[in-house]
Symmetry: C2
Subunit: 290 residues, 2 copies
Amino acid sequence: MTYFTEQRSVEAVVERTNLDANPRLAQVMTSLIEHLHAFAKDVALTESEWEYAITFLTSTGQLCSQERQEFILLSDVLGLSMLVDAINHRRPTGATDSTVFGPFHVKGAPIRDMGENITLDGKGESCQFTGRVVDLSGSPIAGACVDVWSDNADGYYDVQQPGIQPQWNNRGRFITGTDGTYAFRGIKPTSYPIPDDGPVGALLSALGRHPYRPAHMHFLITAANHERLVTHTFAAGDEYLGSDAVFGVKHSLVTSYERADQDTVWRCNFDFVLTPDTTDSPPSTPPSPR
Amino acid sequence: MTYFTEQRSVEAVVERTNLDANPRLAQVMTSLIEHLHAFAKDVALTESEWEYAITFLTSTGQLCSQERQEFILLSDVLGLSMLVDAINHRRPTGATDSTVFGPFHVKGAPIRDMGENITLDGKGESCQFTGRVVDLSGSPIAGACVDVWSDNADGYYDVQQPGIQPQWNNRGRFITGTDGTYAFRGIKPTSYPIPDDGPVGALLSALGRHPYRPAHMHFLITAANHERLVTHTFAAGDEYLGSDAVFGVKHSLVTSYERADQDTVWRCNFDFVLTPDTTDSPPSTPPSPR
């Protein structure tokens, strides 16, 4: 038994974990306590700063609702969401990179015919999205579900404006045929600020950071025997590419939007390369308790 | 400009902090990001664990109210509250040790005459508390305010049972005279569990830890030209002395309760040694922005 001291603070806490506790939980909590204490010691955290942190975390939790997840935003702006994605999706050369899922995906979007328009509010500059879903050898993947979503021309997702935007505006699912191609009409997305009227927005402001994300189209691609791919494509030339508030940009995901005919205005072609399913061999070394 | 990668995740986030930001905020956030990312990498945090953490923190925030502060409880059971206390109150040899403030202090308790009884509900084993407030040289401090509070015989503070316990039950303030002595009648405190029906209780349970605190009497002692002292005295022999859920116990604060006469049942004598005021020379090296 160790009474708590500044010098042996970690040991005093960690030794309390019962040997019967879940080994993975014990491992995670031990590392968390080590880093939490090291942080407080490194900066010699003051009592008023600790009080501020308690208030900040409490406000962050209390702002959460069905429509808003402020703790995910906090994780996003601290780069933690991208880090967890990177740790869990180390992809082989040639595979399409993943990026953050974001809070605006909705399950069960309408399955549409190839080439259909997902933009229901008539706003924005029309864009023809095309490409192929292939495996690491370049062979087309048939029956892949390409689930897409974006903000509208005003920078809001439909779920942020219920009653203002039509349900499923700028959302849809498309199933590839034997050639693995997909095609749909949407809009050239616009950059937008993450919700910044809460504690996370105040933190960004205090750090001198803006809340904007560069324009992007979301893709969630699932196919039998392949790992689920969560990614975006980013519009080349966007002014926020180098300063995405949530760090989602990767070089390989930046793509050009080219001028098309008068009717569609823009076109954007991007191929997605999936990796084999790894359900039986998880990428991370430590096993998860869940 | 650094695009985010697993290897350079910290640099990608930290370099976004604007050079005009408050230097102390920048220092604290840089260290926080370093340790947060190192934690996620050390344990190879899975996506389901990240989701669990988001849910846990959200629930913790949403349980907070005027009557309950679940984030302070979380800080307490992770040893962070005691660590912040230790970092900010490194006391010279001979001075009384500090410990956690706890969430149950109430400002403005009645100022009572020396020797008066603070137990208004008639419950518990009566105890006579006595001692002296002195400086590092052992000289008595006159005019010191000894603010005391404890749970009742059922293990609850008055503020946890409004309408059940009388207001100010087991609370009071006593002002020392020229001899520096204090005396009051209360009860021999009882050990009690911290609120354990929320996320923090679930965490303790998963770690195989109990939620109990050993029996203790709270003291907040203030005196002109001396540093404020926040501490408890703990009852020797308590079964939870070696496993306080919030790590508040220090050897020097464990004191014996001795059998007294029939009327008071117990007596407990403890002297408090204050340190000179350090308002003009804070103990921590890095300056606070507040």
